[in-house]
Symmetry: C2
DNA sequence: CAATGAACATGTTGTTCATAA
DNA sequence: TTATGAACAACATGTTCATTG
């Protein structure tokens, strides 16, 4: 997962979502569609409304990288609701890599805040 | 110029550059290639290294929108150096729109800082 | 060669369509 | 229907090539 941070302008959405999704998965909270709903509620006041496909693509990427494992389940009591969902769990490798990723992301987030604050300072002070 | 702010994730690079380029042009500082060098120096410590084509494309956009005017000049004393450069100036319309744009951008920059600080808070506190 | 610009290629994200149970 | 996923389209950006004097 230790792909290069873009080292360009600002953070990519995908990297931001990974941080949140890893945390959600680590805490065993829900499945994809649920994560989407939760994130949307949480981010709403910041004007950010992620799309379902971006969430799924991020989850797939984490899976392909071996950071998380997948397991299909039936939601609700069997016989009542046949909706199939996908549950994610951190792999052992994932738990290790998550630590590293979080460290990198802290630096990257701070860099971005610095850049934006610079713009605020340069133009509004 | 009052195009919609993406209202999505973070600010687009183009919007960020506009803010700086408008300011540079308003202060009558240099031509494209010069602006690029200056911005690179200024942004270097924030890990941001804009490309020449992004600068030029942004300048072209401002021109097409009628925010700035263009004038070709010869750099240095004529006869010594024939390098042609393009000088930009704010139009009257541009001066008006710049005020509005800056107001919008302040809100947008603060929104983005808010989103990033939320991530820092959620994951590192 | 410095500056500008266009063409081209890639990356990133959003919208729409498809499928299962 | 809800959840998942893929296919497709659009946009944003970077890299390379071309031109001019």
């Amino acid at each position: 997962m230790s792909e290069q941070q873009s080292r360009g302008f600002l953070l990519k959405q995908r990297a931001f979502l990974k941080l949140y999704l890893l945390d959600i998965i680590d805490k065993q909270k829900g499945y994809g569609s649920q994560m989407l709903d939760d994130l949307r509620k949480e981010m709403k006041e910041y004007g950010y409304n992620p799309t379902h496909s971006e969430i799924y693509k991020t989850l797939h990427e984490l899976y392909k990288e071996g950071i998380v494992s997948r397991e299909k389940k039936i939601k609700g009591e069997p016989g009542v609701d046949f909706q199939e969902i996908v549950i994610y769990r951190m792999t052992d490798k994932g738990k290790e890599e998550m630590k590293l990723y979080k460290k990198q992301m802290k630096v990257e987030l701070e860099r971005c805040v610095g850049l934006l604050n610079k713009a605020l300072h340069d133009h509004y002070k």
